[in-house]
Subunit: 393 residues, 2 copies
């Protein structure tokens, strides 16, 4: 894939200032809702007048709604504003070699539509055709007009570009080498498009509607085909120079006497291999859920074997990124993830072992199965609510 991620430093003017301030206001409302204009002014450093103008505009455009008056103490009762949950929507689409998932999400991060379709082929033509169909279905199903769509977030298996990671062909899409997916999807879908890898999408999903809602720096370890790491640092997604940051599956760890890639111990493939050795074939998350519900001993064995190397990797992530918390999630049953987290023995030698911790060092993600598609939508919402003065070239 030919992803152009180069950004251009760009000058600001009155118009762009307003755009920035809109996002500041939206972001503050999200965090503090319901909240009055005077409070927003104090938080943002803007004048009440400016905030008033902006909230009026945002209310007019259905991003905000008045959430009643609050009579707290003296003075004129506060007119409180909240995000208008259904004021805008984002479409998230996950593309895998064998299937596509779509999710329509509102400003509050609530899912309004989901769908899965199988793919016989994953060429750009077929995928983009299905993407358009999914978009139209989503809009019709939710009774929306295209103008209410902020954009689409496409989540595709990384890594991007021709690089030296041997993926065993497991997660490869065909015919995408010379394609710029952003341009393609923008053309076909007629909205602005963001493309990310699955782990990053999942991480951002937790920020919009999950356990990372009030975090500014955190890491998400994503159990997909392999293992990915999504990083949000100081509110910004970390992509790396070529969009391939977070390839944590290839990190070398040790488990007892054995040494190898983390993916060999802690990933869905590792589970499948371990269960296959016991004569059990599992394909889907539901299979795993069932086995876990039955207390399958091989699965419990896997948890015990995966926990030490994963603990080591988490310690490494903590020391390298110094996040507020590490989140585990992806295509594993919640109960299994909980078991895995309970089995972790996190290293003592970590910058994350601080006395003033309020959160656990490791948490389970809240977005469940649809994480990746949902994450695509979350990226769009996130972009809309995060102020930034950088333009794509």
């Amino acid at each position: 894939m030919k992803l152009d991620r180069s950004k251009r430093i760009i000058g600001s003017n009155a118009e762009r200032t307003r755009l920035h301030n809109r996002q500041v206001v939206l972001g503050l409302v999200r965090r503090h809702q319901p909240v009055g204009r005077a409070a927003i002014a104090r938080l943002s450093g803007l004048s009440t007048q400016a905030v008033s103008n902006i909230t009026a505009e945002l209310t007019e455009q259905a991003f905000l709604i008045v959430a009643g008056r609050d009579v707290k103490g003296r003075g004129l009762p506060v007119v409180q504003y909240s995000l208008n949950r259904d004021g805008a929507f984002a479409l998230g689409i996950e593309v895998r070699p064998d299937a596509m998932f779509a999710a329509l999400v509102n400003l509050a991060g609530e899912t309004r539509f989901t769908r899965r379709i199988s793919l016989s082929s994953s060429t750009p033509e077929i995928v983009s055709g299905h993407a358009l169909a999914l978009k139209l279905d989503a809009l019709q199903d939710a009774g929306l007009h295209a103008s209410q769509l902020l954009g689409a977030g496409i989540v595709m298996p990384g890594p991007f570009g021709q690089i030296g990671l041997d993926d065993d062909g497991r997660s490869e899409l065909n015919g995408w080498d010379e394609i710029d997916p952003v341009a393609l999807f923008e053309e076909v879908l007629g909205t602005n498009v963001v493309v990310e890898n699955d782990a990053t999408g999942a991480a951002v999903a937790e920020r919009i509607s999950g356990v990372a809602q009030n975090l500014k720096s955190y890491c998400f370890i994503y159990f997909g085909a392999g293992l990915g790491l999504g990083v949000v640092a100081d509110g910004e997604v970390m992509r790396g120079a070529y969009g391939n940051a977070g390839e944590i599956g290839h990190v070398i760890v040790q488990s007892g006497a054995a040494t190898g890639r983390l993916e060999n111990f802690a990933s869905r493939i590792a589970i499948r291999d371990q269960l296959a050795a016991a004569g059990l074939m599992v394909e889907t998350v539901d299979d795993l859920s069932r086995l876990h519900g039955e207390g399958n001993s091989h699965l419990l064995d896997w948890v015990q074997k995966a926990a030490p190397p994963l603990s080591q990797a988490i310690g490494m992530v903590e020391n390298l990124f110094d996040p507020e918390a590490v989140i585990l999630g992806g295509a594993l049953p919640d109960a299994l993830l909980d078991d895995l987290i309970a089995a972790l023995e996190l290293p003592d030698a970590s910058v994350s072992r601080r006395q003033d911790r309020k959160l656990p060092r490791v948490m389970r993600g809240a977005s469940g199965r649809m994480t990746a598609a949902l994450g695509g939508a979350a990226l769009v919402i996130h972009d809309a609510l995060t102020p930034r003065i950088v333009a794509h070239s």
Copy 2:
């Protein structure tokens, strides 16, 4: 240390817009100098008129100078602008338990003054007192007025805060637990102050005047007392939630049959231990330089032993951060670093092994010995030249 790194999203207005645009212009001039105003306008997306006003202001304030006219093709000859190398200065101060280093650096990253003083004690009072003396000496020595100082960058050994990393007491400062160093130094020095750890400082130093001048995403592995990692991602320094990101020394690696912390194999302490086992006492970089010049076999042995685990760690850094390059530097002789880099065998399984590479995957830092103090100053310059619409709370 009580470092408050919380930033506040802040609204923008005409004044802040101008500030942002000034930094955009300064940054573009740095990258493209000498450059004309029309070109800056095209690059920044601003109107020529706006650029004209801003360059006039920056020239007036001595940040820019006219670098002659360029007659290239038709049209009015371009009035070209360059950074006024000596238009502004930044002070960098490295604080260690036993000594302080100071460097005065100009806008172009050129060093104008350096000094080392020994410390018998590293309490806040003593350190801040010396800091003021160093500032005054630096200004006098370089014949500058305080108004020409953009600010001071203080580099202190991390990690910050009371956390669970056992540092063996080697790099600890006394009496700093309850101190907010930024507030302290701002009070004492009377300028704005940035505080960072050594690896981050070194990384930014390479960006101002070194091998990272045109890089936006890179990692710097810093050989200080231990081993640190400085990360610049998309032009921004990665600090982590509490300013402790980059503790790479504690990462578990393997070297042959042995397994342990990277610091145990690749760090100045590892060298010292290995040489001490051979009855050689080394204290300073000069000692190492001499030994290396003599082709000391124990030192060469160390290189061979350190290279494999370091290669493994670099592969990990590449896969996690996807940088344009990894830079090695710090308190080791350049020739020794070159040997070490030559001995690396970088893993094939890395997102950095791409076909379109123009830079080597690993490079040696160019800032030499004073890196840390110089890095402090570089942080200030970097801040001055990097547009950003976020204010410290």
